[in-house]
């Protein structure tokens, strides 16, 4: 392997660690922001080099087989680096504002970037890990790195949310480790005690020889475990609290990127166990959790009075939609699921960027106390409106396309199995036509519920006369750039999907479906 081909992989892992250490060395805000932007630029550039290589030669391993990159992980890396870059721009204005008000000391800014870069590193490591155990370690690392970011403002509510996040996610992820151990248990029987028995590259080759009983149990634990991190119902209770308490740039990363990485962990396991399991076992589980999350989130959205929690429940809903897409499988469902991950990451980070701006201006998270946003903050209001329209799946935004793809996959995919096995104890038998019809009907019904509930809440904030005592008008600053860029990208992706991204996604779909 030549030196040039290792460089992007080494840079994408090394830069965040170095930046984290350097962040501790200074408390001067401009230096910290500059360092952060330089880091993100390096990450984006090396990610582009990786994408190019994956498009040219498919999957490859690097750094002594520790790193495995294919179209799927390159696609997730693309989301991490792109949203991360936008977040960095937003963070500049956001933190400067809080420092200027005296809410946080400059020392805290340096801590913020230390944790932020570690958070980035753990997510990148999780996405590129060849070893399923290392993937788990990195996922647990994301929890540990973000706990203090969630309680960054040191409010009582923040500590409460952070504690729930820490405990629930650690327990959830412990269950995922048990699933990983079980996978290893089945592969050791085939391969013997070699450290490669946990590697994705090795497991893909021997997957069809693995024992299906063990893998069924393993995948169940993995879905529940990583599903906690994705925020799937009924393991979602930490999510609205963490999202409403954490600083806006952190939530944008949690909602847009961390959830996507957790979905990646699920998909990676799915591509392996699918080889050995009967058709639709993994798919049915994902559909089940996906639809449950969708329905639960839709109902909770109706009763929210806090706009940050509103967007948080919308995250649960969209992860449910994406899961349903991956669950129904086929080229359409899987492609829709991947595309939806990208769109959701963009739309949700846009939503939380604008929510952060509103919170800073109005000083409240109550929907009823925010009025006349269009008069007070025109740019933010437009961004929030765009985010909302995208989140309820309106054209011309790209979420419309991905949701449509998933719904049509749900409607047309023929289910070869007529039974829905829930573990060993409960089996629901339904004729497959009725089932697929029922699922689509349910889906569309709750889409309408969501559309009404969501737009009603948000539009009530945007129009109307603003309350007295709120400063009107907003100036242009660095922090507005990501709002504009994300709006444009969301609309642009709805009109056309650039060829490199489409190629990457096609390859990723092929990888996920390789077992079928």
């Amino acid at each position: 392997m030549t030196g040039t081909s290792v460089a992007p992989v080494a840079i994408i892992h090394g830069t965040p660690i170095v930046a984290a250490m350097l962040s501790l060395a200074t408390t001067r805000a401009p230096v910290l922001h500059g360092l952060n932007l330089a880091t993100m630029t390096a990450l984006v550039v090396s990610e582009l080099a990786i994408v190019q290589r994956v498009l040219e030669q498919g999957s490859f391993t690097s750094l002594w087989d520790f790193v495995y990159l294919d179209a799927l992980s390159a696609f997730i890396l693309l989301i991490i680096t792109a949203i991360g870059f936008l977040c960095s721009l937003y963070t500049w204005s956001y933190l400067d504002d809080y420092v200027a008000r005296g809410a946080i000391t400059p020392r805290r800014v340096s801590r913020f970037f230390f944790l932020f870069h570690l958070f980035l590193f753990t997510m990148i490591a999780a996405t590129t890990a060849n070893n399923l155990g290392v993937l788990w370690i990195a996922m647990e690392g994301t929890t540990l790195a973000t706990v203090f970011l969630i309680s960054f403002f040191r409010r009582r509510e923040g500590f409460e949310a952070g504690w729930k996040y820490l405990i629930l996610c650690s327990v959830g992820i412990a269950l995922a480790l048990f699933g990983t151990v079980l996978t290893y248990y089945s592969s050791v029987r085939v391969l013997g005690d070699v450290s490669a028995a946990m590697n994705v590259t090795t497991l893909q080759d021997v997957a069809h020889q693995l024992d299906p009983h063990v893998l069924k149990l393993a995948f169940l634990f993995i879905v529940v475990g990583y599903g906690t991190k994705v925020g799937l119902a009924p393991m979602h209770s930490w999510l609205p609290e963490a999202y409403s308490e954490a600083p806006a740039p952190v939530v944008a990363m949690l909602a847009g990127v961390l959830e996507t990485v957790a979905v990646y962990a699920l998909l990676r396991s799915k591509t392996i166990v699918d080889h050995a399991l009967p058709e639709h076992y993994t798919g049915n589980l994902l559909i089940l959790f996906g639809l449950l999350s969708f329905v639960v989130a839709a109902l909770f959205i109706l009763i929210q009075h806090d706009y940050k929690r509103l967007f948080a429940y919308s995250s649960i809903e969209h992860m449910g939609i994406a899961m349903a897409g991956f669950g129904v499988g086929g080229v359409a469902g899987t492609f829709g699921g991947l595309f939806h991950l990208l769109n959701h990451a963009l739309a949700k980070s846009l939503a939380f960027f604008s929510a952060g701006n509103v919170h800073r201006r109005f000083g409240t998270r109550e929907i009823k106390d925010v009025r006349g946003l269009m008069t007070v903050q025109p740019v933010t209001a437009t961004a929030m409106l765009v985010a909302t329209l995208a989140l309820v799946g309106m054209p011309p935004f790209s979420t419309f396309l991905s949701e449509l793809t998933i719904v049509s996959a749900l409607a047309t995919q023929s289910f070869s199995s007529d039974t829905l096995h829930l573990g060993r104890f409960l089996t629901i038998v339904v004729a497959h036509d009725v089932r697929s019809l029922a699922i689509v009907a349910l889906f569309l019904l709750f889409m309408v519920v969501l559309f009404g509930g969501f737009t009603y809440r948000v539009t009530s904030m945007i129009w109307g006369p603003p309350p007295d005592g709120v400063k009107r008008g907003e100036g242009w600053e660095v922090g507005q750039v990501p709002l504009v860029v994300t709006c444009v990208v969301l609309a642009g992706l709805g009109l056309t999907l650039p060829e490199p991204i489409r190629g990457l996604m096609d390859q990723a779909v092929h990888i996920i479906l390789s077992a079928r």
């Binding site: 370690i137 500590f159 409460e160 504690w163 650690s170 412990a174 480790l177 450290s195 009983h213």
Partner: protein
Amino acid sequence: MPLITPLIGSQLVDLGSALLLLTCFGIVAQRRLSACVDLFAVQSVFLALTATLVAFLTGIHHIYIAAALTVIIKAIVIPRILKRVIERLNVTRELVMNVNVPSGLLICGGLVMLAFFITQPIIPLGFLLTRDSLAIALAIMLIGFFTMIARKKAVTQVIGFLVMENGLFLGASAAAYGMPLIVELGVFFDVLVGAIIIGIYTHRLHDAFDSVDTSKLTILKE
């Protein structure tokens, strides 16, 4: 003639796993927080002994390293951190629980049966030496999970989580003869960092709420 025949070896591993399970019941029955921490430390020592036994019987050397790390981190370092937290916060006993001790013990008995029931189809696939340990490992995880639900104090919830980790580790070292070394090191690192963070966090919770009773964490509601 080897020193320990496979049959005796397998029974010794079972004995070690059973002792781990026994300490779990001890933790469920114990109200004094410092005694819970001690029981956890004892459990970690049993875990290390079982792992050493597996390493000796199979000749797989990297399990020795994991066993040594278990003693250092889980039997010495983490109990110390937890004891310091208990001392500093001045909480000694858990007076109110979500589930009382007798019914808690009954539920745990049920959880053990459930664990054997779930793992029944996959146990015959395992290595002869450590077959039953997988079921016991799952039982320990479930009891740890139950402890987290049944108790209210932050410290006991953390102990429940650590018991879950012990169950996991038993499952890995007994059923699959240990995970690759790099993974085990990483897991230990995560557990240690997690324990340190939890130590700091309980302190902050105490400052913010004047209590480490997690049932007081009710500001955030629908």
